[in-house]
Symmetry: C2
């Protein structure tokens, strides 16, 4: 069984993968899209015969030079049976294409924990304002300030997959009340209350913190628009760690200027990198981070753990983790 992966992933995890799964053959893509087996033999791209493709986050780093050859091979392959994605979202057209043509598609949930930690950190920084303490310290001033607690706050989490779940778990440990918003609530979510997307406008007015972790699709495009901000509390915080397309950035700036909500912490944007002339960069109520909320030092190891677990399940014919089906696309 031939497994396609990046040269970086092969160097980091190849020996462990082969040891864990006797009989697999790794086909690593390096500079310029050239393929080689573990023993260094060149492999023809048109006859690679890969059954499994493992996309890792290094594909999306820096120059993205491997993105085109990697996905080109994946797209053209007639032998591919399973694609393990590096991403949590599955809104890229190539993913829909693979799923539609019957390739087993699994997304990644290795981002959930660091993103949840980022979100809690952002909310705590918002209510505690440690910058005020830092400013006092810089001037050797013994000057405190009263802060707010997360205890007793209400969180509305829009999108309640693995990321929303990890956020909810932590927010509830702080004594927050969590309202989850999802297309089709399952009833087993770790939330105090679940509502459907249609009921969003009824729960938003009660939120102290609104977290957007919905996938990008036609339904969620500009979900956070003027009407959305209009019903928020003036003291509320918006955090977007999902997809940039979910927020109408023009409406957000207008709503912040009008005091419809207190502040926004944004890790994702309609256009990335955020253009230099975006008003978000310098808005006093906006915190910008560069699509970085999942960028923890444990992410690389976790994606290996997910893949090696899923590869074992795939070979044994067992149910796999994080499968996305054609139903999920609609």
């Amino acid at each position: 069984m031939r497994v396609l992966l990046t040269d970086g992933a092969a160097r980091a995890f190849g020996p462990r993968l082969v040891a864990d799964h006797p009989g697999i053959e790794l086909v690593a893509m390096g500079e310029g899209g050239a393929l080689r087996t573990t023993d260094g033999a060149a492999v023809d791209r048109e006859a690679a015969g890969v059954e499994v493709a493992w996309a890792t986050t290094d594909l999306y780093r820096q120059d993205r030079a491997l993105v085109r050859p990697f996905f080109g091979l994946v797209r053209r392959s007639e032998t591919l049976r399973w694609f393990q994605s590096a991403a949590a979202g599955y809104d890229a057209p190539i993913f829909a294409e693979l799923i539609t043509k019957g390739v087993l598609f699994t997304r990644s949930d290795v981002h959930s924990i660091p993103i949840a930690e980022y979100v809690l950190r952002a909310a705590l920084d918002h209510v505690q304002q440690p910058g005020r303490w830092a400013a006092a310290q810089a001037e050797r001033r013994w000057e405190g300030h009263e802060f707010c607690e997360l205890w007793g706050s209400t969180w509305v989490i829009v999108g309640f997959g693995s990321i929303g779940t990890e956020i909810a778990r932590r927010a509830r440990a702080f004594g927050a009340r969590v309202v989850g918003v999802r297309r089709r609530p399952s009833g087993t979510e770790e939330a105090d209350k679940m509502v459907t997307t249609d009921e969003l406008a009824q729960v938003l007015p009660h939120a102290d913190v609104v977290v957007l972790c919905a996938p990008a699709n036609p339904t969620t495009s500009h979900l956070a628009d003027l009407a959305f901000f209009e019903v928020m509390q003036p003291s509320a915080l918006l955090i977007n760690i999902g997809r940039g397309s979910v927020v109408d950035e023009g409406a957000l700036v207008a709503a912040l200027d009008a005091g419809k909500l207190a502040a926004a912490v944004l890790d994702v944007f309609e256009t990335e990198p955020l253009p230099a002339d975006s008003p978000l960069w310098s808005h006093p109520k906006v915190t910008v981070t560069p699509h970085d909320s999942a960028n923890s030092d444990r992410r690389v190891l976790r994606q290996f753990e997910l893949f090696t677990d899923n590869l074992g399940r795939f070979r044994r014919g067992e149910p796999m983790r994080n499968v996305v089906t054609a139903d999920d696309l609609s």
Copy 2:
């Protein structure tokens, strides 16, 4: 039954207290230590006849003008049966004096939740370094950085009363392993492991985060000394939200300079306010906050809830919350 309280507490909570507890009479201390009943009648300080004294945090604010007359009356009173403190610690000599002479003494645990939120915020800021994102934003630079997670970290919490418990609960929700340190572990603590103070040196080398929330007493004085820092990990974070006397500040500066630990977040100090010439103010590895970690907007309401609950128990002869006995002083 006469209840002594501050004029501020009487104005904020007097009507609710009297409604909750028919038959009590409030004696409020105002400017210059003058006493008045709710209907405005002056009360002689030497014949106030109070059975209950409720100390609230406003005593310790700003000019502290009421501290001396309030505690003077409490100390001299021959009718006082119960003293509800505003503080979590009971190391002040006056408290030992009251307990020793048989006054029922209850401390306050209303600080636990905001302090726990402060501690988690401080730890998350340490591992995520949001200041780097803020610096990039100020220059419109799309520049991320890899951060560490709390997930999988080990926390050593020194002192495991109500504050340590609230910290542990939140840290564990993040997937941290919590080792509690206490003079006499009860076995029911919300920790992955409990050890006694004598075993501290065995657990410190495993800590990523060390939180000090031990009371001030001869045993804990300079507990965090050169030998303590010597066995910490060079990557570890120290957070002190307990008592300033627990840390040998000279040893801490030396240990930070020698790379024995990575950073310290200090909310309490050997001398408060922290003297202007303290090297802690400008040390690049030290965060100073002005004994402010409990300063949340919910603290005032929570101390009322504790007092009215305890007053009901006191009048009905039921076990009270947060009793400190002579045994606890030793």
